[in-house]
Symmetry: C2
């Protein structure tokens, strides 16, 4: 780990987005998602899966009578909502919203126990049982989300009430977990607390929080396995005893530094890896960093869908194995994609690498935002790349794949998680240290560089066009401005103050060192042709198929535009794509191309024929951005389409 490569993410307070793509989405979070989700948490949405989340806090605080309801981690939905509000209140003046949030914080704090403990499930069901099922009962997961919310709310509003509660909660956990005799030599069953503690350390400067995160990471998977001992002690059954992944479900089957591939529950995995990267950075732990590099490579090079979705299997919501990427039985949980963004940004902060920035870009424009409808009130948990609605009903192996967005989920992790990602999206665009400012993503807006009071005005056509203009304002400052050339980019021009500049591209970045003065201007124009992508030959499901992308956006075919039987479509050899700005669903670029479609009208009734060759008919196909699928009713959808580049001479 090289000290000079370290950077830190530019916080959202320093990057105000005002471009059409992300501003629209952030506005939607403020205008629609936050009020909608607040209503859900308070059980006011008809026909949606009940939440009971706020009511659990009321019962825990003694303000209401009743039983705990919902998942054991139901508290986390409130924390994710508060975290989102924290980000949003940095941007919007909304006293009403702040009042609601402050009220929730009061409620949360009144539920907190004198020793700092906070988890409504155990407060309601018996505090004597707390920390007796660390593997499965999510107290530490809820604590992690509580801390993330507290940090965000403090940073967004300056208010410390929730932060102080978080410090007390973290202190309570620190008193109970650790290497010292008498403490539990345990670690979270569902990770997130590790990275949350590093955030808390950043805000408070208290090393004990960083050390606790490090302890959790180093203790994890050490023999004897805590989770195995816990089961034995309390007589719990092992839910995953018939699985192949066993304790790797929790990434706890072996020490984290010995884990060579991403395994087990995908959200847990990437949350852990995010914590590992955060701790590795703070502790300058090169060995831990190397483990992170290896795990990231395994995901990105061998287990990630082209949309950035991860977690191939519904069983255990888990990774399966390298190059196994089924498009129709995929899990691809929205939260897992989001967690991959967390992980990638922390890796970027250790050392800039286009690979990690490309991952963030892939996820944020595709397999994460696909989890929310265009209007922000319908959601996907699972993000498939191929959908046949009939199969989603009649094939048990695909019943987890929904062809229609849902109002809410009994396990409602994804919708508020996506809300907090979008509300904080600017924090994934730029990193800096005392010499350098990196622009990894091109969001339009105003970025305070951190070098004196200088700022950058960024105009960006992303993701629909590759033109970016960066204008300097404020005091003159010398630093290195480092601009990412996206991995998909086939060519670009760079102008500095109107003149074409010949800046060497190094590992995907253009670095410009100078004294930046008011009015300096950089123009980037990244070519954004439509690309026809192939998957690695080891990806069984995608052999003979292609996926279409343009810039960072992956495209799909939908039944709404192209009729049924999308599996019969072959992209024509050397097909030309016409790209056009389209009003569709809030505006996007759609594509058209010639395709050849397998005919069945001359086939007859036989299921198999040796005496007939496939016949095709020429058609025009319309491709829409993948993330916009399922906004126009139930129908088929397909990302990987048959490659007709071999059809030449056969049409």
């Amino acid at each position: 780990m090289e000290e000079k490569l370290l950077t830190e993410a530019v916080p959202i307070s320093d990057y105000r987005i005002d471009d059409s793509f992300w501003k629209q989405k952030i506005d939607m979070i403020h205008d629609t998602a936050i009020p909608y989700q607040w209503n859900v948490l308070n059980d006011r949405i008809k026909d949606a899966a009940p939440s009971h989340c706020i009511e659990n806090f009321r019962i825990a605080a003694g303000l209401s009578k009743g039983e705990f309801q919902g998942r054991v981690f139901q508290d986390s939905d409130a924390y994710k909502w508060l975290e989102t509000v924290g980000y949003i209140l940095k941007r919007y003046q909304d006293p009403e919203l702040m009042k609601t949030a402050d009220g929730l914080i009061d409620l949360i704090v009144s539920a907190q126990q004198p020793d700092g403990y906070l988890d409504t499930y155990y407060i309601i069901n018996g505090l004597d049982k707390r920390f007796t099922n660390v593997a499965n009962n999510h107290e530490l997961y809820c604590a992690g989300h509580m801390i993330e919310a507290a940090v965000a709310y403090y940073q967004g509003t300056g208010k410390r009430r929730l932060l102080d509660a978080a410090i007390r909660l973290a202190g309570c956990i620190d008193g109970r977990f650790g290497a010292e005799p008498g403490k539990l030599h345990a670690y979270p069953g569902h990770e997130i607390l590790e990275m949350a503690l590093v955030r808390l350390y950043h805000v408070t400067g208290e090393e004990r929080f960083l050390n606790l995160a490090e302890y959790f990471i180093n203790e994890r998977g050490r023999s004897p396995l805590y989770f195995e001992e816990e089961q034995r002690k309390y007589g719990y059954p092992f839910f995953w005893k018939d699985s192949y992944f066993q304790y790797q479900y929790y990434q706890a089957g072996k020490p984290v530094r010995e884990q060579l591939a991403a395994e087990g529950h995908a959200v847990r995995a990437v949350y852990l890896y995010s914590g590992m990267a955060a701790v590795a950075r703070e502790k300058r732990d090169a060995g831990l960093h190397q483990a992170c590099v290896r795990l990231m490579d395994d995901i990105v090079d061998r287990q990630m869908y082209i949309t950035g979705a991860i977690g191939q299997a519904e069983y255990g919501e888990s990774f399966t194995f390298d190059y196994d990427l089924p498009n129709d039985t995929i899990y691809g949980e929205t939260c897992a994609a989001i967690g991959l963004v967390f992980f990638a940004r922390r890796m970027l902060e250790i050392a800039p690498s286009r690979k990690y920035a490309d991952v963030i870009e892939r996820v944020i424009y595709n397999g994460s935002i696909s989890g929310m409808s265009a209007e922000g009130t319908r959601f996907f948990y699972v993000n498939p790349l191929e959908v046949d609605p009939e199969a989603c009903v009649k094939d048990e192996g695909k019943r987890h794949v929904k062809p229609e967005r849902q109002k809410w989920f009994s396990c409602a992790c994804c919708p508020p998680n996506l809300a907090r990602l979008i509300a904080s999206i600017s924090s994934y665009a730029s990193t800096r240290n005392d010499r350098q400012l990196f622009l990894h993503q091109y969001f339009g807006g105003t970025l305070r560089t951190g070098f004196g009071n200088s700022s950058l005005q960024i105009k960006s056509g992303f993701p629909w066009d590759g033109k970016v203009a960066v204008t300097v304002s404020g005091e003159t400052k010398s630093y290195e401005l480092v601009l990412r050339v996206p991995g998909w980019c086939t060519g670009y021009t760079l102008k500095i103050n109107g003149e074409e500049a010949d800046v060497p591209e190094r590992e995907g970045y253009l670095s410009i060192s100078r004294s930046w003065a008011e009015g300096d201007r950089i123009d980037l124009d990244f070519d954004m042709p439509v690309l026809v992508n192939y998957a690695h030959p080891s990806v069984r499901e995608d052999v003979g198929k292609i996926a279409v992308s343009r810039g960072p956006v992956v495209y799909c075919l939908e039944e709404a535009d192209n009729g049924k039987n999308l599996h019969r479509v072959f992209l024509n050899p050397g097909a030309e794509f016409a790209a056009r700005q389209d009003d569709l669903l809030g505006g996007c670029v759609t594509l058209e191309s010639d395709v050849s479609v397998l005919k069945d009208d001359g086939w007859g009734g036989s299921l198999y024929r040796a005496d007939a060759r496939p016949e095709f008919e020429a058609r025009r196909a319309k491709w829409i951005p993948y993330y916009l699928w399922a906004n126009r009713g139930v129908g088929e959808m397909l990302v990987w389409v048959h490659d007709g580049s071999f059809l030449k001479g056969n049409l």
Copy 2:
């Protein structure tokens, strides 16, 4: 239903097989499978799943102490074994085997209750509970297998002891089930009794058995649903309440004549349809026959794998929906394929149709015998068309697919079922009435025509070569000899007494009416080229792929011959196949062809690339008969291979 089209199957007693293909298999059943399975039933095979089957009978008969063990339908394994022995004893002089079988029959009869009732589960666990869980507890299923065994044993040996017990058992059931007040208005949860009762009617001439079968079929699925009422009465949970198929799991969601597609548990379905066809024939019930035609068409035209396997889903061991034919998550239970043979023969007996004879041929050379190893002692329950051993471990959706044959199963329906099919295989070759003798399949052997004492000596190269010679012996008789031209046949020659004959082919059959005299000879030579098969364009999984067959045999690629990564293989455009007789696994014809294999050596580490096109290398592939796969260790296997016919000009 046309009276003049009715035929009946030539019984095994009239068709003695002596060709190399089937004789070898029947010998294997006698020499290996029967002793092996007898040892299993008596729990003498180390490391095999325990059976306890014979011990249950001993306990029920009061000869031993202990509890019932095994599945609720464990008795049926003994019956299937006895049925197989019945067929085998018609062919082999084996006094030792007969003695063992007679001993088992004595045991069974001594377990039978005075009123004819027989089911060791309820005899051991309480007779007061009998017929209280008709939907799920398989008493009527076991009774069906008992009757099938009794008929076969009687026909094979002339001994009536088991047959008389079967008559008593059927009488007991007839006394308890039926339309009359006080009887249960119920029907079997797992069908088979329907077709067994028709066999018992054939042997005994007692119409009450036929009528009971008809009652079961007509009552099935009528409202109110008996199975629903039974659940309500006894407070049972409905195991399939979350399924989409609901009571159609048992084919009991609506009256059988209203069932338009094959649905639910595949074995149950085809056993029911076999019973429906048998009853339709005996009762001249045209409406019921039409339902059978429709169901058979749905299976054969829309839900059957090219190997003859049926039942796409592990969940419910069920059919899914039309054109849904996943090759890797398939269930394709050996028993289901066998049941399809039962159904098809009963349809042939109503009216000859090449379609049904083609189905029988497809199943018996492919997706049924794939369920037993070359040496007859290892078995498959599930018969996939695509196997990646790593996925069978790491993908929960494929864990039911085994890459390695098993010694036995806790649910052991398949091995003895396959034994009884093979032991009685000659009964699926030929049907006749008082004017006609049909040869649907070409097994070498001696066939007593039923016309006086005349016989046919049949020499056949099937399935490896298409030459068939039929020589007449015995007294001169006039009848119509009707010869099937297999559906895969692209051309043939027919000679009568050495001279090429021009007999018009009608609906796949060649009909020759004459006075057949000693020494008359027919020579058939069916072309048997290698065929490259395509699936219907609606079969999503097979678009862009081909399957190779030669004559009735479907071929596959195996890792043992072709290395790993079979999904990267593309069959070359217009590839020539070299077919040769091979010593492999008891002898077969193997194929070789040129293929192009996707290379990965120039690909690099990226999972997705838009800047590289797939590259291929030329290789030679070896294809083996599908049914012989998994006899040479664990490895990949593939039937549907990428179609390289579009590759022309791209290599």
